[in-house]
């Protein structure tokens, strides 16, 4: 005769797990225990609950969802300090990259050299600092699209030196103060 077990909470599953360690549904019950635990501990779906869950229930496999949900909520705030705290305390490989990129994008207002330097000073552990350092080193160089005698375009600096060799049939300027966006 088939026997049915109905669980209503992580506590009831926990009792079952302790009582029937040899049960054929032990592993299924264990997974269910974690699911219940996650739902119970994050029932308000608040930032505080997700933060607490990530710290106190780090062994629960559903920390994956807690981290994703916490990051989504923190992202909506668009507050640099909150994102930075998230990176330092809660982010794993799952969200770290996106969190850093978000922090970078909301920190950049004018996108000038001073701002880039300030960002690196403020967040020295920024994982893409090599890209920023390159941007900083290039920010003083203005490049102009120029056509040579063979009707090929390249880029020269303000001293007239070729910085990008003339191999193109057409070229637009690196217009200072503008960025390109693909729709």
């Amino acid at each position: 005769m088939a026997r049915y077990v109905r669980f209503q909470s992580s506590d009831s599953i926990n009792v079952f797990l302790k009582k029937y360690p040899q049960s054929s549904i032990y592993h299924k019950a264990y997974k269910l225990f974690y699911d219940f635990e996650y739902l119970e501990q994050t029932k308000d779906r608040s930032i505080a609950q997700y933060q607490r869950f990530l710290i106190q229930y780090s062994k629960n496999p559903n920390v994956y969802y807690a981290e994703k949900n916490l990051f989504a909520m923190i992202s909506e705030l668009h507050i640099a300090d909150s994102i930075y705290t998230f990176i330092k305390k809660y982010a794993t490989i799952l969200t770290q990259q996106e969190a850093w990129k978000l922090l970078y994008s909301i920190s950049m207002k004018a996108y000038n050299k001073q701002e880039l330097i300030r960002f690196l000073e403020h967040y020295p552990e920024y994982p893409y600092s090599d890209v920023l350092l390159k941007e900083i080193s290039l920010s003083d160089i203005q490049l102009f699209a120029v056509k040579n005698q063979e009707d090929k375009y390249g880029y020269i600096d303000s001293l007239g030196n070729w910085k990008i060799l003339p191999i193109y049939d057409d070229a637009l300027d690196f217009s200072e103060g503008w960025l390109l966006y693909v729709k």
């Binding site: 990008i164 049939d169 503008w178």
Partner: protein, 57 residues
């Protein structure tokens, strides 16, 4: 496929270039070579695939 590159004044929008869903954090220019358009960065490296057609807004 026509790819539209929109020029955005810095400070007005996020300083991010989204290239077919990929975010690129550097300044770029559009160049044309052998009938294909590309994005290059200020080091002269081509950072996109070639596109047959292109327009700017």
């Amino acid at each position: 496929m026509i790819v539209v590159f929109i020029l955005i004044k810095k400070g007005k929008r996020l300083p991010i270039i989204i290239l077919m869903g990929r975010k690129i954090y550097e300044w770029v220019a559009i160049v044309k070579r052998k009938s294909l358009y590309y994005l290059i960065n200020r080091s002269g490296q081509i950072i996109s695939e070639g596109y047959q057609d292109m327009t700017t807004e």
